[in-house]
């Protein structure tokens, strides 16, 4: 007798109601064997590890708008970030979701602008993303621990636990979080969809993950990979020999809203000389 999965589940369901569940399950195949380890508990030997991941961004190395677009597109395609558009092709602000994007200097560092500063800096676009704070307000307020800190400093979230209360969005000082106001799958281009990364459901909050899923396979974040040479660095800031540490130690870098005590892990080089 042959049966498909649906039929099997039907019969198994009915039999378990009648009390035959155990015998059917054991007769068909072994579901679990003592001593068998699920593969995900084994750390990948190629995985990148750090005490504290951090990022350095030097906007002077981005020469064209195209350079920036490459970075944001790399991230958004890797993570299946939906691209909601109005009929005229502009971004649909109503449903917009973004993990990494550009803002002018004055918006990135509110209050730091002055009337006489160089037009060059004033007009310079800055790449913004989640700061993976040391002391993140989003994690503090989440009522279900759906957003949480990893030991390596990354602020992660569990899309399956999130109840969509959006308290984290009110709490984030960096506007880094986006909510799925409707099913995001309808705004993902099937041609560019990354089958290796999950899509999300409506009603949950999402943001940059510092490419946790790539680090596990020994790859640096997609944005850093797509950035022009010397524009973005990613590494262990606790390691004195890492590039990020060397830049932060040797040059003037600024972080967004450090006065709030959040401890952002994204550093911006202002001025732009050669590094490391």
């Amino acid at each position: 007798m042959s049966m498909d999965r649906r039929q099997f589940l039907k019969i198994a369901g009915i039999s378990s109601i009648l009390g035959f569940g155990a015998s059917v399950a054991s007769a068909t195949h072994t579901i679990w064997e003592p001593g068998l380890k699920p593969p995900q508990v084994e750390p990948n030997p190629d995985g990148l590890i750090a005490k504290r991941w951090a990022m350095v961004v030097d906007m002077s190395k981005f020469k064209t708008d195209e350079d920036i677009k490459k970075v944001t597109t790399a991230c958004h395609q890797t993570h299946n970030v939906p691209d909601f558009r109005n009929p005229d092709g502009t971004v649909d602000k109503k449903f917009e979701i973004k993990w990494i994007w550009e803002e002018p200097f004055g918006r990135t560092f509110p209050g730091s602008e002055n009337k006489f500063m160089s037009e060059h800096i004033k007009d310079m676009p800055f790449i913004v993303l989640c700061n993976h704070c040391d002391n993140p307000p989003c994690v503090r307020v989440c009522p279900t621990q759906a957003t949480f800190k990893l030991p390596n400093g990354i602020t992660m979230q569990d899309m399956h636990r999130c109840i969509g209360c959006r308290f984290c969005m009110a709490a984030c000082p960096y506007g880094a979080r986006s909510f799925n106001w409707t099913d995001p799958r309808k705004a993902i281009n099937p041609a560019t969809e990354n089958k290796a990364y999950p899509t999300r459901t409506k009603g949950v909050v999402e943001k940059c993950t510092f490419c946790t899923e790539r680090l596990q396979f020994g790859k640096i974040p997609a944005c850093v990979e797509a950035a022009p040479k010397g524009a973005m660095f990613f590494g262990d800031i606790e390691d004195p020999n890492s590039e990020v540490r060397k830049i932060v130690t040797s040059q003037l870098t600024i972080r967004r809203k450090p006065e709030l005590g959040t401890g952002p892990a994204v550093y911006y080089v202002i001025g732009g000389s050669d590094h490391a």
């Binding site: 602000k93 109503k94 449903f95 917009e96 979701i97 973004k98 803002e103 004055g106 918006r107 990135t108 509110p110 209050g111 307000p137 503090r140 307020v141 989440c142 009522p143 279900t144 621990q145 759906a146 636990r161 999130c162 109840i163 969509g164 209360c165 959006r166 308290f167 969005m169 009110a170 709490a171 984030c172 000082p173 960096y174 506007g175 986006s178 909510f179 799925n180 106001w181 409707t182 099913d183 459901t201 409506k202 009603g203 949950v204 909050v205 809203k257 709030l260 005590g261 959040t262």
Partner: protein, 390 residues
């Protein structure tokens, strides 16, 4: 006692049917929202809470205000409140019911609501808010029911209920303090990051809640033989006046700090709400309506001659209630999100489905309120003239 809610004349049933129809409209649009997602509302990436959370915040205040009757009656033995205190407790029950519904309709994944209990998180203020709100609902249901049952039998209520009555006093303060902490503990929102937030919440609650109660008491007297008492209503009028002055004073403190300090971030939301910011003046007419209504209400409440005329008192209370509903149920929430963390102005306005879902929740709240009041009225009409010590 519950059967009393289902015994009524034609007018009572017509009223329930009307509220039921409004609730049905709300449920219909909620199903739409459930299927499409919260994108059916006017909320967006920048203004990520809107009308729903505003209503929730405002109604927590209405619920907490029952304490304004409980304190004088049970702590100061102010006998005049003996008959009206049940109306306050039942109002609290219906207000908390609405609060819970507003939180529910605001959730992106409502089917996961039990995650709050499965993964209790003491560092989240929202966790504590759910604890204190459900506790407050239970306390008021218990106290209201036990005292009213005793009244019906013509006996004093059991001694043990006193414990819960006294417990309800700090508990009422806690529900609104914790609700204020949802906002006042966020580092990024200048408009909310204020130590007087909880105090302001309590002051506006103790004005808006009792104002609604006066209106309800006047309606109850008009449509039934149960008279909550002229003096009781006048006494509540005084409470409303004091609380509203305290609220306006606290708001004034916010203005002083925002504008005298000259820190742009502190002033930005106030500017957006009252004069407009970067060409966006969407909420300005609404906020000035609220301001004018508040002034009218205060003028009528502060002069005894005006306050003692029940028609004017009702008008003052209605003005005050609408004023605070705009201020707290809308402006306070939207103002916190505008400007956004990039100091950009992205306006918000509720959509029609969002407004109808909101109306539906209010209708359910009033349905609960009407049935509870019907029970209270039925008992009071039977025991008219008999005063029982609580």
């Amino acid at each position: 006692m519950l059967e009393k809610a289902f015994e009524g004349g034609k007018k009572y049933w017509a009223w329930l049917f009307f509220l039921g129809a409004l609730s049905a409209v709300g449920v219909y649009y909620y199903i739409q929202q459930f299927q499409f997602g919260l994108g059916l509302t006017g909320m967006n990436r920048d203004v990520s809470w809107g009308l729903y959370i505003g209503q929730f915040t405002f109604l927590v205040g209405v619920a907490a205000s029952a304490v304004m009757l409980v304190i004088p009656y049970y702590l100061h033995d102010f006998k005049k409140f003996g008959k009206i205190v049940i109306l306050g407790e039942f109002l609290a029950i219906s207000a908390v019911t609405m609060c819970i519904l507003f939180i529910f309709v605001d959730m992106g994944q409502p089917m996961r609501i039990m995650n709050v209990i499965l993964h209790p998180t003491p560092n989240s203020v929202m966790f504590w808010d759910s604890v204190v709100l459900s506790g407050y609902l239970a306390i008021n249901a218990l106290v209201g029911w036990v005292t009213l049952s005793a009244d019906r039998k013509g006996v004093p209520p059991p001694k043990w209920i006193k414990f819960f009555i006294y417990l309800s006093i700090p508990w009422a303060v806690s529900i609104h303090t914790v609700t204020a902490f949802l906002y006042s503990g966020l580092p990024a929102r200048h408009f909310w990051l204020s130590a007087v937030m909880a105090a302001r919440f309590l002051a506006s609650a103790f004005a808006a809640g009792p104002a609604l109660l006066i209106i309800l008491a006047l309606i109850v007297r008009k449509i039934s033989k149960f008279d909550p008492g002229k003096e009781a209503i006048q006494a509540i009028g005084k409470i409303v006046a004091y609380a509203m002055f305290a609220n306006v004073f606290l708001l004034g403190l916010e203005f002083f700090t925002a504008f005298y300090s000259g820190i742009p971030g502190h002033a930005a939301s106030f500017l957006y709400l009252y004069v407009g910011l970067e060409g966006h003046t969407e909420l300005v007419p609404l906020m000035w309506t609220s301001t004018i209504l508040a002034i009218v209400a205060l003028l009528l409440l502060v002069f005894p001659a005006a306050r003692k005329k029940e028609g004017l008192l009702a008008f003052a209370c209605l003005s005050l209630f609408i004023s605070l509903w705009i201020d707290k149920g809308f402006g306070l929430i939207i103002g916190g999100f505008v400007p956004n963390p990039f100091e950009e102005v992205h306006p918000y306005w509720p959509t029609m489905p969002e407004a109808l879902i909101t109306l539906g929740v209010w209708a359910i709240g009033f349905l609960v309120l009407s049935m509870l009041y019907k029970i209270a009225i039925s008992v009071r009409e039977r025991t008219a003239g008999i005063e029982i010590e609580h």
